[in-house]
Symmetry: C2
Subunit: 346 residues, 2 copies
């Protein structure tokens, strides 16, 4: 299998996408990897798999790589003998944040008929926006944390008790997120969040709440990961992110009851099926007094949450064999023929 890793993008999470992408070299042991970089100004570059490292991007040296054009059926490089398609079997969308998680890359892949692993457009639009994630969860009978929504021009007033957590609705990786302990801190936290987005959601900050992560996909059957209780140690911000996005070795399953595990899995399946078919996602849950609440959906999780699966690479192979097919629409111009006949023009 030859997998094209799409990474980078015009996103606040551009750099951690690079970390995720490089991590894939350790994760895919049998497959061939083809790296396609989406630069900050959204050009496509074919990056040499042997030479990939973070400095290639931070130094700007990537600009010497081959520039690609996206056309029907694939990415093309201009060469001496005309335009040639880059060879791969499937594209893996590994762009975190804007472009990758908002549905743009999925739109591009679908429009240009390239097989790809990623949430499709609708799933992206709903999960990229934390407010719409709430609508979705509610409609599927999956409980979430209580919330209020504030837009940039709204009066800066909340009715919830402190402490609260403020999150821009459209970002991942904790960017622009603040914990607000009392009213006097609200103004500043909103300033920060509104730097990144026009809308924020406010949720109660549940101190000491247990958090559990469940990743999974659907191939010919459910393939759910172990449930992990993520560690909340005190790292520097960039170290923590680096750890999250460069993980490549399997972790231990959380010590939870069968009942809680069952509830987490049931909620995951409700969210995933059928909207997220074709993707590998991670859902983060809170458990409060025996009740499972969806915290968020990670449509493109850091390093694809590979560390939660027993054999991630084999699972990807099975997923590639069962990607959703776009509905075929036959266009026969019968309708235009009818008008022409009715008008006596044909």
């Amino acid at each position: 299998m030859n997998i094209a890793i799409l990474f980078g993008g015009s996103s606040f999470e551009h750099e951690i996408s690079i970390v995720s992408a490089i991590t894939m070299k350790k994760v895919f042991k049998k497959s061939t990897l083809t790296y396609i970089f989406v630069s900050p100004d959204r050009e496509f570059y074919l990056i040499d798999t042997d030479k990939i490292n973070s400095k290639l991007f931070s130094s700007g040296e990537y600009k010497k790589s081959k520039l690609l054009t996206l056309k029907k059926g694939g990415f093309f490089a201009d060469g001496m003998f005309g335009s040639k398609a880059v060879d791969f079997d499937v594209a893996l969308n590994l762009i975190h944040g804007r472009d990758g998680e908002d549905g743009k890359i999925s739109s591009l892949m679908e429009f240009f008929t390239i097989p790809f692993i990623s949430p499709r457009m609708e799933a992206s639009a709903l999960s990229y926006n934390k407010l719409y994630t709430k609508f979705l969860a509610e409609s599927l009978g999956v409980k979430t944390v209580a919330y209020e929504k504030l837009s940039k021009n709204d009066e800066r007033k909340i009715s919830m008790d402190y402490p609260v957590i403020i999150k821009p609705v459209r970002l991942g990786s904790s960017i622009g997120v603040s914990i607000v302990k009392e009213a006097s801190e609200l103004e500043y936290a909103l300033d920060v969040a509104f730097e990144f987005d026009t809308d924020v959601i406010v949720e109660p900050f549940l101190e000491g709440v247990k958090e559990f992560n469940q990743a999974g996909t659907y191939t010919k059957e459910w393939e759910l990961s172990i449930v992990e209780e993520p560690q909340k140690e005190e790292f520097l911000d960039f170290e923590k992110k680096y750890m999250d996005f460069s993980r490549d070795s399997q972790v231990l399953a959380a010590d939870i009851t069968e009942e809680i595990r069952g509830k987490i899995q049931e909620s995951f399946k409700k969210i995933y099926d059928p909207l997220f078919k074709g993707s590998i996602i991670r859902c983060d849950f809170f458990v409060v007094e025996g009740e499972v609440l969806l915290n968020e959906i990670n449509p493109i999780p850091g390093s694809m949450a590979n560390y939660l699966f027993e054999d991630f690479e084999e699972m990807v192979n099975r997923l590639v064999a069962s990607l959703p097919k776009e509905q075929n629409i036959a266009i026969d111009y019968q309708y235009i023929h009818s008008i022409q006949n009715a008008k006596g023009k044909a």
Copy 2:
């Protein structure tokens, strides 16, 4: 102003998009029109504005037109002296149904930095799906008709009283829609709807209900159209569609009270702002016992609902001057530098 009309697309509504596009020639009297056709297999063709007519497409003759490649900043044609950008100021997305209304064209325009008139991705994903439209309206305090949702594999049972109307969740132009008068007809109507979509919504069929259409946009201020009460005469299916998508002369305002008109406009504004900025949409409302209910959002209305505006062309000019700007994201590789420093590699 030079306006590129994007039309066609891989959509059940491909042919009526052609009708909408040709109608634009009568609507834009001062502007230059540049026609870019998206063929059923999603190639881009530059169509000669002087020669455009429906037969060009039904005969397949369009294939002799110049093939275009979408790249950063525009559509490019290969010529003797290299690749040359097609000249225009703004793209007008006139693709009805899949590709145009689902967010793909918006994704493409946004990704490749082309100024465009159309609902943006999020707005498209929410309004293309009638179920998500319900979520959106509810969250904004806009009332809608009661509904039930059925998926392809669900038990074929509804709890609503007959008559009901069955609609595929993701299609426009009445495709796959049936009115079901009694239980014995349900099975067939669902078969029809599930031909087109995996999910349907069921609503009570409100016999003799008054329907009103409101179109509009936001430029530097609200620009709302007159409210129309669409005629429900008995045409053949294709004639009716043709009439709807080829309209180019202004119609009379519906005879309604100021109060109802005010309620319709208020609901329109709630739906439009800020999600639909950059687009001209039409919302269809029912009025039941003095109450205004959103029936549906037409993100790319037939012939852009031009016939509802006093001076559509001037309004488009004002809209082009106030299109939403994409947030600028500066990527400085500070994060990767920090990791490199922390690892002692830099």
